[in-house]
Amino acid sequence: MSLYKQLWLAVILLMTLAFSGSFLLATKSAQNYLSEQLQLKNFDNATSLALSLSQQNDPVLRELLITAQFDNSHYEFIRLMDPTGSVLVEHGSDKTVFAPTWFMSIFPIEATPGIAQVTNGWQQIGTLSLKSDSRFAYGEMWVSTQLMFLYFLAGALFSGLIGNRLLKVILKPLNDVVDQSKAIGERRFITIKEPKTLEYRLLVQSMNNLSGRVKQLLDTEGGSLQELRKEAETDSITGLLNREAFMQQLSSLLNQGNENTEGSLVLLRLQHLAELNRSEGRDVIDSLLQNVGASLNDLADQCEGSMAGRLNGSDFVLLLPGCEQTEKTAQRIHEDIQRIATQMQLENPLTIPAAASIYSSEDSLPLLMTRIDAALASAEQEQRSCLKMADIHGTVPETCTLECWHKLIASTIENQNCELITTPVTDASKQILHMRALPQIHTETGEKVSYQELHPWLSRLKLSPQLDLQVMERALASLNDTPQPLSVSFSAQLLDDENSQRALFTMLKAAPKKATQLRIGFPEYGAYQHLESLQNLCSELQTLGCRVGIEQVGPDIASIGNLSGLGVDYVMVDEMSIHDINDNNARQIFLRGLCSISHSIGLSVIADGVRTEDEWRTAIKLGIDACTGPYFE
C-alpha cells in the first residue's frame, strides 16, 4: 500500500476517533445534564405543588389544581395517593415519542419522581409524586445528536479536503525522491535539488552522493580508459597512430560534412625494411623507425589538428589540415625524413618514395586513399626517393560523385526501397539475444551498397534522419515476422532534428507493443554533442519501453561519465577495439576496463565487427556480454 494511502487511512481513522469521541462525550454530557435538570424540576415542582395543595380544604379544588398543573406543564405523570396507598388523583401523558427507541435505550435520561407530602392542617391527605416528561428532553437530545452528526460529516469533509491538500504539499518532495530512486533503478544516476523536509533531505543527500560518486567514478575511469585506448591506438615502436586509429580519425574528419574541410595528406614509404632488418640488425632499424616517428610527431604537434600515423610496417602518413601549400610542405617533410635516414649511416641507402595530395570535403576516404596510393605507386616505380603529387582530377575513375550519391539516396528514401539486413547479436553461449538491423540500398544497376559504405555520404548529405525514419518503419514492419527483439542504429543527426524525432515517436506510439521489442542505438560521437537532446529522447523512448544504447563507443571514451544520467541499457564498442583483439594486448586491457566499468553501472557491453572465432573467444573472455559482426552472418 502506498504511503499516500496509508496516510489517508491514518487521517480518516484519527478523525473518526476524534469526532466519535467528542460526539459520544457531548451526548453523554447532555444526557447527564438533562437528567439532573429534570430531577431538580421533579423535586421542586412536587414541593411547590404539595405546598399549594396543603392550603386547600376542598378535595375538588385539590384535584383541579393537580389537573391544571398537569394540563399546562410537561409531566409524565402526577399522582396523589392517600397514606394507605390508594390513588386519589392520577394523570398520565400519552406515549408519543420524539426520538427513536434505540437512541433512548443507549442514552437513557433517568430522573426519579419528585415526592412531597400533602396535609390539611394536621391531617394527612397523602403523598404527591410527579415526574417531568423526559420525552421532550429525548427529542431535544435526538435533534442535537442529528445536528452533531451533520456537523461531524461537514467537518470530516472539510478536514478531508484540507488533509488532501496538506498531504499533497507534504508528499510533493517525496515524489521527487521516488522519481530519483526510480531513475537510479533505471541506471539514470541523476542528482536532484534537496528538499526542505529533514528526512527527505537526508535521503536525497545520500542518493545524490551515490549519483555523484557514480559520475565521478565514470569520469575517472573514463579518463584511464582513454589512456588505455590511446595505447591501443598507438604503434608501439614509433609512438604514432596505428592504421585503424588513423583511418578512423581521417574518416570521421571527412565524414563530418564540414565544407571547410581542406588540407594536405603526405604518405611516405621506407622501402625494403625487411631486408634492412636482416642486414642492419633489428636494433638499428627500430631506432630508425623511432626517429622517423618522433620527427613526424614533432611536425604534427606544430600544426593544430595534425596527426601522424604508421599505416603498416613501412608506410607513414601525415595529415595536415588547413595546409594549402601541399607540394612545398611535403617536400620539406620528405627531406627531413631522408636526412634522418642518412644520419643513420646505413650500409645500404634507404629509398623513400613519397606521395602527397590535397583533400577537401568532396573527398571520401577510399577515394583519397586510392588517389594517394596511386601517386605513391608511381613514385615507387622510379626506384629512388622522390615525391609525387596525386592527381586531384583523378586518373582513378570515380564510381559515384556526391551528386550521384545524393540522387541515389534521395530516390531510395522517396521510393522507400531501402532494405534491412539483419545480423544476430549473440551472448556468450552464442544464443541469439536480438537481431541487429542495418539498412542496405541498391544502385540503379542493382549493386548493393552496405551501410558502412553509405554512412559517410548520408551524414555528408544530411539525409540520415530521413533514412533513420525509413529504417524505423521497416523495423516495425519486420517485427511482425520475427519473434526476436530488433536493434537499429540511428544517426547523430537525428539528435538534432526535432521534426524527425516527432515523426519517430508518432510511429512508435502507434505500435506500443512492438516498441518494447526495439533497441535503439545512437553513435557516441553525436551523443555527447547533443547530450540534452539525447537525454530527452532516452527518457521518452524508455517510457515507451524501448531500450537505448550508445554505439561506436571508443574514441570519446573519456566522456563515458555523461552516460550516468541517461539510463542507457548497453554500449556497443567500435570495430577498431575488436579488430585482432586476440593479438593485441593493449586493446584487451582497454576492453577489460570498459567492460568492468560498464558492468558496475549495469550496462551490458556489445562488440561490433567480430570477424573470427579467435576474436569472439577473446571478447567473451574479456567480459563482453554479446557480439555481432561478420563472424555471425
Binding site: 462525550l25 457531548a26 454530557s29 447532555a30 447527564n32 445534564y33 439532573e36 430531577q39 431538580l40 423535586f43 421542586d44 414541593t47 404539595a50 405546598l51 396543603s54 392517600d82 397514606p83 394507605t84 426519579t112 419522581p113 419528585g114 415526592i115 412531597a116 407530602q117 396535609t119 392542617g121 394536621w122 391531617q123 394527612q124 403523598t127 409524586s129 431535544e140 435533534v143 442535537s144 445536528l147 452533531m148 456537523y151
Partner: protein, 229 residues
C-alpha cells in the same frame, strides 16, 4: 443547541463529573448502615471529649429504645434533646441567618434553634425504628406566650402520626411536653415534609448528584450522611 453542548462540555469537565460520580458511589457504599463510630470520631476531632460523651449517651439512648413502645421512644428522645440542647438562634451559633445543623453539629455545640431540635429529633426517631411515613417535620406558625395574642413566629416541630388519619403527637422545644396536635392551639401547621423519597437511612444513595444546588433540606441530608448517618 450545539452551543449548549459546548458550554456543557466546558462547564463541567468530564474529569470533574467522573470524580463526583465516584465519590458519590463510594460515599454510598461506606454509609450503607449508620456509622455512629464515625460520628464519635468526628465529634472528638471537632468538639472534644464533652461532645463524644453526648454522642455516646445519645447512641445508648437510641439503641436502648429500639424495642420500646413508640410513645416511650418519643418521650425519651424529646427529653434528651430538650434537656441537653440549649436554644439559640442561628445568627449567634453559626453567624448565618438560617442554618440547618446536623445532629452531630447540634450535639457537638449543644445549642440549636427550632429546626436543629426538629432535625435531631426526627433523625433520632428514625434511628430508633420509627418509620419515616409516620413522621413529619412541620412548618408551623407559633403564638408565643398568651397575652399579646398577635405575637407569632415561624417555628418547626416534629409530628408523629400513630396512624395515617390520627391526630399527630407534637415534639416541640418550646413546649417540652408531648401533646396531640389538637391540644396545641398555639401552633398552626403550614407545610409538612419528611425524608421519604429522599433519604432512607442506610439504604438510600443521595438522589441526584447536583450537590452544589441542593435544597437546604437535601443539603442537610447529604451532610448527615457524610457524618455517618
Amino acid at each position: 443547541m450545539f452551543r449548549r453542548f459546548i458550554s456543557v462540555l466546558i462547564n463541567k469537565s468530564v474529569l470533574q463529573r467522573f470524580s463526583a460520580c465516584l465519590l458519590t458511589v463510594m460515599t454510598w457504599w461506606c454509609l450503607a448502615t449508620p456509622n455512629i463510630d464515625l460520628m464519635q470520631q468526628l465529634a472528638q476531632q471537632r468538639y472534644g471529649n464533652e461532645a463524644v460523651k453526648t454522642i455516646e449517651a445519645w447512641r445508648q439512648m437510641v439503641l436502648d429504645n429500639q424495642d420500646n413502645q413508640a410513645t416511650e421512644i418519643l418521650r425519651t428522645i424529646n427529653v434528651f434533646f430538650n434537656q441537653r440542647i440549649r436554644f439559640n438562634d442561628d445568627q449567634s451559633i453559626w453567624q448565618q441567618a438560617d442554618y440547618w445543623a446536623t445532629p452531630l453539629e447540634t450535639m457537638g455545640r449543644r445549642q440549636g434553634d427550632c429546626e436543629d431540635f426538629s432535625i435531631a429529633k426526627y433523625v433520632s426517631l428514625l434511628l430508633a425504628g420509627i418509620p419515616a411515613e409516620q413522621l413529619r417535620m412541620v412548618y408551623v406558625k407559633a403564638r408565643i406566650g398568651s397575652l399579646p395574642k398577635n405575637l407569632t413566629q415561624a417555628h418547626m416541630v416534629v409530628a408523629y402520626y400513630p396512624s395515617s388519619n390520627a391526630d399527630p403527637l407534637i415534639l416541640d422545644n418550646l413546649n417540652p411536653q408531648i401533646l396531640p396536635a389538637s391540644q396545641r392551639r398555639d401552633l398552626l401547621p403550614v407545610f409538612s415534609f419528611n425524608s421519604a423519597g429522599l433519604w432512607i437511612r442506610g439504604q438510600n444513595k443521595p438522589v441526584g448528584s447536583a450537590e452544589k444546588r441542593l435544597s437546604r433540606w437535601r443539603n442537610l441530608l447529604t451532610r448527615m450522611q457524610a457524618e455517618g448517618l
